[in-house]
């Protein structure tokens, strides 16, 4: 991943963008943080938030014109938050002294500020903090300008005086009763200021600039013309803003403050010979990109004040603060257990993935995170910026494999299962007996064959009858596990084999029984004409229903790999209706469906998250589920959720209730596949397969079976250990229990088995494994 790509991905996630109120505030007060502090009753923390961006928090908490409210998301559900009133509560209830100002080292440059209104005072304040010497010229005999014209009930004088007292600690030189102009009666000219000072800021209030004869370019309204974004006038060392810029009808105290701040930044840049314009996009108000859903928010009107003159009581303020949505996006995180698990959000995750890929020496902390994603694509559907973490993780896995940095334990087991399915034990490709060509080719997939081999047989029989003209059969794995594991080479090899065999059969249409195989072929083997089993059955007519299941209402679980396959989703629903069932749509269905925990090999890389994912899914409805992927069905059933596979509704699963039939484990799935092949070869093609004698039959109790499943150890591997120990005599014995203990490493994992010989075979007591090799 390149830096540029990282930035593009990061930009898609809006979680770190400010809430609408903060973006709309010309000085970007962190209102969300202030409200959060208020909720805790921590007025000092709330006040500290205000003080960070506001030189005069008391004044603003009384007279702010609140452009923030226009952008408040709560405004769409009940009414905007009373932000100014909450600020006032922080100011009035804060008992801690204001934080000490931090001043930069003194600079040997003098700046003149003309006018002591809000913008002039802010410029003076900011420049003093930056270490400049500031001389203020004010026409009246006090600081504050037109603030003194505001009625006392709106702006009590003690509030005004308290905020202005901030200058007592600053070395501000003030010249009162000084007026700017070139008339003979006045004592200050812009010309002389330009000679004596390095830069000048003009906060002239609503005075008609033309009357002052300043020699600056004026705009059509007769006010001093300034460049938006920098406030520089036609004279490069003179800056102007505040009400002079806004005009009489548009007075905005908070904008005046932002002008003062903007001018101070411009002056600082001007005096340092830096660009006036570079990187200033986010000064002043802007529209945030942060997405915040108000979908499930109950409308609530603003909390009224018992006494509007006194403002909110602390209790009222707390209630109003609780109305704040504390705007965030987190849409994907709310929908995905994987994204929630790591307690952050995609912008951070993308960065972690990037860092993980960039490490040359050191620990790859994000390996497990990268391998834990189900690659299901739900986040992309939900994300307002369409960021797909699955795509990011998939690309990262391929890079890790390419660099030899993929932890072998993450996917080894699943890849070996794939290899089993594509070995002689299961793989098979044939024309229908009696045919030398195939009109269609049935590809049931490895998981359906592993879960319900009897149903595969029945479907194949039905397809042969219904389609006539020859329906071939191809048993094997489509390669999805290799794709998910980032094993591109292995994946291409599987696809290549499938394509060659398909060509050799005369390029028939492939009828696919598994939605994941369907997606893999569709995306990677575009020349192959495909039809999903259920679309075909919906079109051709259903087989005779053998199952005895009373029509009921079922919740359809769409497979995540069929997220964008509307035709598949529709055909499944159509078949369900034909079978007499009602459908309940889950909140997350069709293009918003969720993964069962198997996708992306999640359950091999991170069992904890996979378990959370499957439990989230099965708790979304009380009624029975209907799945059309065998893996989804088995994953739900394993956790006790009554779930039918669509084929169960046609063929049943004698002798019991198909919704409750147990999910076969990994070993049993392989045995089912092998048995299916053997049965078909013998019964359909009438060939005898060589029966392998089991030299060392195993006796495995249920709890040991569970141990095998849990530890990802196959019965076949246990068999190898026992056979090795019995043939070579290389075994240990526990003197206490008398059990034999043996170990053997067929490929890369060393398996340990504790066992004891019985009359009819070998009883297995314990199994475990490790990947570290014993080298001598």
């Amino acid at each position: 991943m390149e830096q540029k790509e990282l930035r593009e991905l990061e930009a898609k996630c809006t979680q770190e963008h400010p809430p609408g109120c903060t973006a709309a505030c010309p000085v970007h007060v962190d209102i969300r943080a202030m409200v959060a502090a208020l909720r805790q009753g921590d007025y000092a923390a709330g006040f500290a938030v205000l003080q960070k961006n506001l030189p005069f928090p008391g004044i603003i908490s009384r007279i702010c014109d609140q452009p923030c409210q226009q952008a408040c998301k709560r405004g769409e559900v009940g009414g905007a938050i009373s932000i100014k009133a909450l600020e006032r509560v922080c100011v009035e209830n804060n008992t801690k002294p204001a934080a000490k100002l931090t001043l930069l080292p003194a600079k040997n440059k003098k700046i003149a500020v003309v006018g002591a209104g809000l913008s002039g005072l802010t410029t003076a304040f900011d420049l003093l903090k930056k270490g400049y010497q500031v001389v203020l010229f004010e026409v009246k005999d006090r600081l504050g300008g037109s603030l003194w014209e505001i009625p006392e009930d709106r702006l009590p004088r003690e509030v005004l005086k308290k905020d202005l007292a901030v200058f007592e600690d600053l070395a501000l030189e003030v010249h009162y009763n000084t007026m700017l102009g070139q008339e003979s009666s006045v004592n200050l000219s812009l010309e002389s200021l330009c000679e004596d000072f390095a830069a000048i800021y003009l906060d002239l209030g609503c005075v008609e600039a033309a009357l002052l004869n300043l020699g600056l370019k004026l705009n059509r309204e007769g006010r001093i013309e300034t460049a938006p974004g920098t406030l520089v006038t036609s004279n490069p060392k003179v800056f102007a803003g505040g009400s002079q810029y806004l005009g009489v009808g548009n007075i905005s105290p908070i904008t005046s403050i932002s002008h003062g701040r903007m001018a101070a930044i411009s002056i600082d840049r001007f005096l340092q010979n830096a660009s006036l314009t570079a990187n200033r996009d986010h000064e002043g108000p802007f529209t945030t990109k942060l997405y915040t859903s108000i979908q499930d928010i109950t409308p609530l009107p603003p909390v009224p004040m018992t006494n509007p003159q006194l403002g909110y009581t602390p209790e009222e303020a707390s209630e109003e603060a609780n109305r704040c949505l504390l705007c965030q996006c987190l849409e994907c995180v709310k929908a995905c257990e994987y994204l929630a698990h790591y307690r952050a959000y995609p912008k951070r995750y993308v960065r972690e993935v990037y860092n993980n890929l960039s490490i040359v020496m050191g620990i790859h902390h994000a390996n497990t995170m990268i391998n834990s994603c189900s690659l299901c694509g739900l986040c992309q559907e939900i994300c307002p910026g369409s960021l797909d973490m699955g795509e990011v993780c998939h690309a990262a896995r391929k890079m890790m494999v390419g660099k030899g940095k993929m932890p072998p334990s993450a996917h080894d087991f699943a890849l070996r299962d794939m290899q089993f399915s594509n070995s002689q034990d299961f793989a098979l490709v044939r024309h229908q007996p009696g045919f030398s060509s195939s009109r269609a080719l049935f590809f049931p997939g490895c998981q359906l064959s592993g879960s319900a081999p009897g149903q595969v047989e029945k479907v194949y029989t039905y397809l042969q009858e219904k389609l006539a003209d020859g329906v071939g059969l191809m048993l094997g794995c489509c390669g999805a596990p290799a794709d998910w594991a980032g094993q591109e080479e292995m994946f291409q090899e599987v696809l290549g084999n499938i394509e060659v065999q398909w060509q050799q059969l005369g390029k028939p249409e492939i009828i696919v029984g598994c939605p994941t195989c369907y997606q893999v072929f569709k995306d990677n083997l575009p020349d192959i004409p495909l039809e999903f089993l259920w679309s075909l059955l919906d079109r051709l007519g259903l087989p005779t229903v053998e199952a005895t299941i009373n029509p009921s209402t079922l919740a359809v679980h769409d497979t995540c790999t069929a997220r964008h396959e509307k035709e598949i989703q529709d055909s499944v629903r159509s078949v369900l209706r034909k079978l007499g069932h009602q459908i309940e749509e889950l909140a997350y269905s069709r293009e918003l469906t969720e993964c069962c925990g198997f996708g992306g090999l999640m359950q091999f890389a991170n069992r904890e998250i996979a378990s959370k994912a499957v439990h989230k899914r099965i708790n979304e409805s009380q009624i029975d589920y209907l799945a059309y992927c065998a893996m989804c069905r088995d994953n739900f059933a394993r956790q006790g959720k009554r779930t039918y596979h669509l084929l169960d509704l046609i063929y049943g699963f004698p002798p019991g209730d198909p919704a409750e039939r147990p999910a076969p484990g990994y070993s049993e799935r392989q045995e089912n596949r092998a048995r299916l092949k053997k049965k078909l070869v013998q019964e359909v093609w009438g060939e005898k397969m060589v029966e392998e004698e089991e030299d060392f039959p195993l006796i495995i109790a249920d709890q040991v079976q569970e141990m095998l499943e849990d530890r990802l150890i196959l019965v076949a591997d246990v068999q190898k250990v026992v056979a090795y120990a019995e043939r070579t005599g290389n075994k240990l014995q526990d003197a206490e229990t008398g059990y034999f203990i043996a170990y053997y490493k067929p490929v890369s994992v060393t398996y340990w088995v504790e066992y004891s010989p019985q009359k009819n075979g070998f009883a297995i007591h314990k199994v475990y494994s490790h990947r570290l090799e014993i080298t001598d």
């Binding site: 620990i363 334990s409 075994k731 240990l732 060393t750 080298t775």
Partner: protein, 70 residues
């Protein structure tokens, strides 16, 4: 991982072929290009090793993960 639990706690394991109890001895474990010496119970005659379950699923698993993330 240098030592297994002390011999007192260690259950008595016998090499079936040589018919002698295992004793602590030096051996090497390796993974993904890294090797390190360890002391494990083994048969002093034929060299058959014993890795108990808690070692395999505890310390050895930790080391595996650490090496895989290196």
């Amino acid at each position: 991982m240098n030592r297994q639990e002390s011999p007192e706690e260690q259950k008595k394991i016998i090499c079936v072929k040589c018919n002698i109890p295992l004793t602590l001895g030096k051996t090497t474990l390796s993974y993904l290009g890294s090797s390190f010496p360890v002391e494990l119970f083994q048969c002093s005659q034929c060299g058959l090793i014993y890795v108990p379950e808690d070692l395999a699923l505890g310390k050895m698993l930790q080391v595996e993960k650490a090496l895989e993330d290196k």
